[in-house]
């Protein structure tokens, strides 16, 4: 589970750091951290529904931001939570492109021990970076 909640960073909100050997692994970790903020056990989300979508951005920071925002959107618009993601990132002429295939199901208060409703990804202390050896993201969610 390559993410960690950071209790010392946000009093009213939820902060986490996520990482991975590749950008796709880091995105997967960040998506699961976001989902874990809303439900206690991400693996209880069964893979009943597949949702495919694309995300684009001018830089890698906004790519991660837009991807997480898209997951928040599906939580409200279609009541969907996801536990697994097939991801593919491409950079072409300064544009970043992410294609997503996400697997999950409709949220259920009886089945999923629901936690906080995430309102948005904030830019406060937000960071996405490639360090020697791995990709990292620091994110604070407004809940």
């Amino acid at each position: 589970m390559p993410y960690r909640f950071l209790e010392e960073h946000a009093i009213s909100d939820v902060a986490f750091e996520a990482w991975g050997d590749t950008i796709e692994e880091m995105l997967q970790s960040a998506a699961r951290a976001l989902t874990n903020t809303m439900t206690e056990d991400v693996d209880k989300i069964e893979r009943k529904i597949t949702k495919e979508f694309d995300v684009e951005a001018a830089n890698v920071e906004m790519l991660v931001f837009n991807f997480l925002q898209e997951l928040i959107f599906f939580k409200d618009a279609e009541r969907l939570l996801f536990s697994k993601f097939d991801l593919d990132v491409n950079e072409k002429e300064g544009r970043w492109h992410l294609s997503v295939k996400s697997y999950g199901e409709e949220l259920s208060p009886e089945k999923h021990d629901l936690r906080a409703d995430v309102k948005a990804v904030s830019f406060h202390n937000y960071r996405v970076e490639k360090t020697p050896g791995r990709w990292e993201a620091d994110v604070i969610l407004d809940v």
Binding site: E8, E40, Q69, F73, A116, K119, N125, D142
Partner: protein, 490 residues
């Protein structure tokens, strides 16, 4: 994420409840920061509050002070409890981060003519029924089925008026809502389809986090201002209902859309440099500034409509259970008031009346007697102010005091967190917390045990301390303290 170390500023003591941070504290500060709090509360605030409020003091067009209310705690961009007024005729800005993602999040207080003894034996049943009728929690949906077009054309434009027209409430409710229940500056052509898709099915839902619906009672010794309490319809041993919620996914998306837009134009087009990206802003009198202001108005309207529909559901539940009409049960609303909004107001600044866009983020509008923002029925007394506490400690109904003119008519909004959610959850298990509360006579029904643990009373400041500070400062004065009996949470 590196843990940042923040410097404790040197405070200039103005009085026992007013402390300034000089503009020399940080490069770019245009005005001092002013903390309205007792020494005790100042000592409880995390140091990041001072970093954030002094960042706010650097924004273009800010007037007099960047204020932090007594319940201040760190957020992102603005601290929670932050208040800033920008002169729209002097390059003053508007900032989504200074208003918050939950646009027009606020409180509503409803009366009954029932007494503690009449309700107490049925408390659990009532809470269970309310829990069923007022959906709460992650991604919860309301019972109203409308088209996305109707949401855009009517809910986002008409606010609580849409709800009352549809039969969810009484015309008098509108007179007891700030702005008459509608932001008349709203323009729904400035709203993204994404915002509509996220929010159109969520009318009549509480949400989660610190949002709640609570059955409360007026313990006789908790009436502080007897004549005003009586005038506003409160009496000893009375049961009342208070709830706290906002504009749900719709408002969150509006704020996000414009935050991203402002980040792209702020520096390149308007040459504004900021110290935290969450302070992204644009001049109020710019195309982007006006677009956000009118879009934010739609968020304001969704939240008024949301609270109006919830009020209707509460009346239905009480009416069903007690076999009396809501009118017979005296279920009049006292007030609906927001603590996350940007509002255009006129205030005197250094002897001149200025047009200001006032940002209140986790701060309640609080108007001294005579202000035109106050509904006529309350105008001579000052505006009713609702400050909600944790589910354990109680809440307050207050009235705007004469010195509210010194804080651009703003006061505290709650208890203010002192502990992170993750830490609170480590310290107590939700189930144990709720069992403990039940032994003390407070019945809590929550969608989630962990969500309840995150909202434990010990994670908050003492609300009595917060109200003591607003009282000493003369900005809002207590009328009644209300104690929790039953609580519903997301």
């Amino acid at each position: 994420m590196p843990v940042k170390e923040f410097v404790k500023p040197e405070f200039i003591k103005i009085s026992d409840v007013v402390w300034d941070i000089h503009p020399d504290f940080k490069e770019g500060m245009r005005v001092p920061a002013r903390i309205v709090a007792t020494k005790k509360l100042i000592d409880q605030m995390d140091l990041q509050v001072y970093d954030q409020i002094t960042n706010v003091a650097t924004l273009p067009g800010i007037q007099k002070y960047a204020f932090c209310m007594p319940d201040g705690h760190s957020g992102y961009g603005f601290p929670i409890g932050g208040v800033a007024a920008f002169d729209v005729n002097a390059g003053g800005v508007i900032s989504p981060g200074g208003i918050g993602f939950d646009i027009n999040c606020g409180m509503r207080l409803v009366l009954t003519n029932l007494t503690h003894d009449e309700v107490k034996p049925h408390l659990k049943t009532l809470v269970e029924k309310l829990f069923k009728r007022v959906p709460a929690g992650v991604g919860s949906r309301g019972f109203i089925e409308i088209s996305k077009q109707e949401f855009r054309d009517r809910v986002a434009v008409e606010g609580a008026h849409w709800a009352v027209d549809e039969g969810y409430g009484w015309p008098e409710d509108l007179e007891r809502t700030e702005l008459g229940g509608r932001a008349d500056w709203a323009d729904s052509s400035k709203i993204s389809q994404k915002a509509i898709d996220r929010g159109y099915s969520q009318i009549g839902t509480l949400g989660s986090g610190n949002h709640y619906l609570e059955i409360q009672w007026v313990k006789p010794e908790n009436i502080v201002n007897e004549s005003l309490a009586r005038k506003w319809g409160l009496f000893p041993d009375q049961v009342v209902v208070m709830f706290h919620c906002g504009s749900r996914g719709f408002g969150h998306q509006v704020a996000t859309d414009y935050l991203v837009l402002f980040l792209s134009v702020m520096e390149t087009k308007y040459g504004i440099k900021i110290l935290d990206r969450e302070l992204a802003c644009a001049p109020f009198n710019s195309p982007e500034g006006q677009d956000y202001y009118t879009a934010m108005g739609c968020g304001v309207n969704m939240s008024f409509a949301n609270r109006q529909v919830i009020l209707h559901r509460i009346r239905e539940v009480f009416s069903d259970f007690f076999k009396k009409s809501p009118e017979e049960l005296g279920m009049h609303m006292v007030f609906d008031i927001s603590h996350n909004r940007g509002t255009f107001e006129k205030h005197e600044v250094d002897g001149r009346v200025k047009e200001l866009i006032i940002h209140r983020k986790g701060a309640t509008g609080c108007y001294y007697p005579g202000r035109e923002e106050i509904p006529e029925m309350y105008r001579e007394d000052g505006s009713p102010v609702i400050i909600g506490g944790s589910m354990e400690t109680g809440s307050y109904l207050l009235v705007g005091g004469p010195r509210a003119r010194e804080t651009f008519c703003s006061t505290a909004h709650g208890s203010g967190r002192t502990m992170s959610r993750t830490k609170a959850k480590k310290l107590v298990r939700g189930q144990e917390l709720l069992e403990g509360l039940e032994q003390r006579g407070i019945f809590v029904k929550s969608v989630s045990f962990s969500g309840a643990a995150e909202e434990a009373g010990f994670a908050y400041k003492n609300i009595d301390d917060v109200v003591e500070a607003t009282t000493l400062a003369g900005i809002s004065l207590p009328v009644v303290k209300l104690l929790p009996l039953g609580n519903i949470k997301g």
